[in-house]
């Protein structure tokens, strides 16, 4: 296999992911509507309850909507990552995973390509959201739209890789409801997405440390700082490290000699 063939394979996998995203209308719409519901209803409600003081990267008092926008960007990517892992589990039950795995390319490459494909989709979604959020007066500096891109890619990679890990260890589709309860909700709520961590610290030190240990918090902060043209090296480091860790676990999970497929096999 030549490098050109690798590129063609990657291109084909990304294209399929994009086609599936746009042609499954329900998925397409809910991906767009979900964060807007949070912004239009949840944030509007909390607007009057929560005041956010001046904390970096903001240099002035900000309305609550502005505070949660980066958290919602990360949420888009979290859902997207879980969505793609859901589709992997679905693919495996339905067999289309096999089509991918009988490709002559190395399995780590196929999984990485699958991951990159889901990141492309999630980054596009994030920008569509930023475009609409502008009408809610979420107006980061123009340069922020550019500097947020690497942050979105990195956090998309981490959450997509987490999805891959989960998909390699979940046995059946029915178990996926558990992922919602035990992964998405705790990750989202025990993070800095909805409330600044200094406030959490005031109410519960334990919860504060849980939030700090949550890689999702770091994804949110990475995006938050990047959106305002600033770097958060700690967050970037944590997110990059977790990406690598999750990816290694996913490749292990899909290894033909180990992992779930070998232990359980395909229905016979």
């Amino acid at each position: 296999m030549t490098p050109v063939q690798y590129l063609r394979c990657l291109g084909g996998i990304v294209k399929r992911e994009a086609l599936r995203w746009t042609q499954q209308r329900g998925r397409f719409l809910s991906a767009l509507v979900r964060p807007l519901v949070w912004l239009a209803i949840f944030a509007a409600g909390f607007h009057f309850v929560l005041g956010v003081s001046i904390i970096p990267p903001y240099d002035t008092y900000i309305p609550y909507e502005v505070y949660i926008a980066p958290g919602l960007l990360a949420m888009i990517q979290l859902f997207n990552g879980m969505q793609s892992s859901l589709s992997m589990v679905y693919d495996r039950e339905m067999g289309s995973m096999k089509t991918l795995l009988v490709s002559p390319f190395p399995r780590w490459f196929l999984l990485t390509a699958k991951l990159l494909a889901s990141v492309v989709v999630s980054v596009v979604q994030a920008y569509i959201f930023l475009g609409i959020a502008w009408f809610w007066e979420i107006e980061p500096p123009p340069l922020g739209y550019l500097t947020v891109l690497p942050a979105l890619i990195l956090s998309g990679l981490m959450l997509g890789a987490l999805g891959l890990v989960l998909s390699s260890f979940i046995r059946q589709l029915e178990n996926f409801a558990g992922v919602m309860n035990f992964v998405i909700f705790p990750m989202f709520f025990a993070s800095s997405a909805l409330y600044p961590l200094w406030r959490v610290k005031e109410s519960s030190l334990t919860l504060y440390w849980i939030c700090q240990a949550n890689p999702f918090s770091h994804a949110v902060e990475l995006i938050r700082f990047a959106l305002y043209g600033q770097a958060d090296p700690l967050a970037a480091g944590v997110v990059a490290g977790c990406t690598l860790l999750f990816m290694i676990m996913a490749v292990w999970g899909y290894d033909p000699g180990r992992g779930l497929l070998a232990r359980r096999g395909g229905g016979d």
Binding site: V4, L19, P106
Partner: protein, 253 residues
């Protein structure tokens, strides 16, 4: 050092596999030459799907060896997989994508894109009589048409070995006949080696080769007339019943 025999399209030797305590395959061995149409005959649960999973490297077994045109599936998986086309038991098409998009995705998984992919896709769709449905979404196709699309897809990268796991399940008589004749035609014309797993005995006629798999073991194998002679009967159905110890008449399958 004995001179190496010409590489078989598919060679399986000493292959065993178990899931926990349940042994799915026990010391399975066979050889398929280019141009062979070999029916892998077995009831549901005989181990056909496990065998397919091992041959297509979905997972590895601890014992035994699988080679495709001399390439060991463990040590040279890329060369082995590049030479094979697979039609799995369950449909694996993206229902919301068009026929052509499905085939193009598959072509890219084999490193084929652009005009070469387009040409190959046209050729294979033409061959299965679905060229005019190329832009239809798979969801709009009938079961028989979907199977034909899957066959076309498995052949897009021009493999020399074709594996089909129960390809005719759920198809009407007409679609079934088309599929069998098409594949047998490819064997004769292109020298394609075929492993056709089925529980339908009439899908292997007297010109085919057969492997009888039962409870994870190969009971007999070879050209259908020879296998019949060894079993001391005249039809493959009788052979199958004799070998598997099922003597009830007219099971219909």
């Amino acid at each position: 050092m004995s001179p190496a025999p010409p590489a078989a399209a598919l060679e399986v030797s000493g292959l065993s596999h178990s899931f926990g305590a349940r042994q799915a395959l026990r010391d399975v061995g066979f050889r398929i030459a280019p141009g062979d149409f070999t029916a892998l005959l077995g009831l549901n649960g005989a181990g056909k799907t496990t065998l397919f999973a091992l041959v297509t490297r979905l997972y590895h077994s601890r014992q035994g060896r699988v080679t495709v045109f001399g390439h060991d599936i463990r040590r040279q998986p890329s060369a082995a997989l590049a030479a094979m086309g697979v039609v799995f038991q369950q449909s694996t098409l993206d229902l919301d994508l068009t026929v052509r998009q499905n085939l193009a995705y598959h072509a890219s998984l084999h490193g084929i894109a652009g005009s070469r992919a387009r040409t190959r896709i046209e050729e294979e769709l033409e061959r299965v009589g679905l060229a005019d449905r190329r832009d239809a979404r798979v969801r709009q196709l009938s079961g028989g048409q979907r199977r034909r699309v899957e066959l076309a897809r498995a052949l897009v990268h021009d493999p020399a070995l074709l594996l089909l796991d129960e390809p005719t399940v759920g198809l009407d008589i007409e679609s079934r006949r088309f599929l069998i004749e098409h594949v047998r035609h490819l064997c004769r014309q292109r020298g394609l080696a075929v492993l056709w797993a089925t529980h339908l005995i009439d899908e292997a006629d007297d010109t085919a080769k057969v492997i009888v798999l039962h409870q994870g073991q190969v009971l007999d194998q070879g050209p259908v007339p020879e296998v019949n002679v060894r079993a001391g009967v005249t039809t493959l159905r009788a052979t199958f019943d004799t070998l598997t110890g099922q003597r009830q008449e007219g099971g219909g399958r």
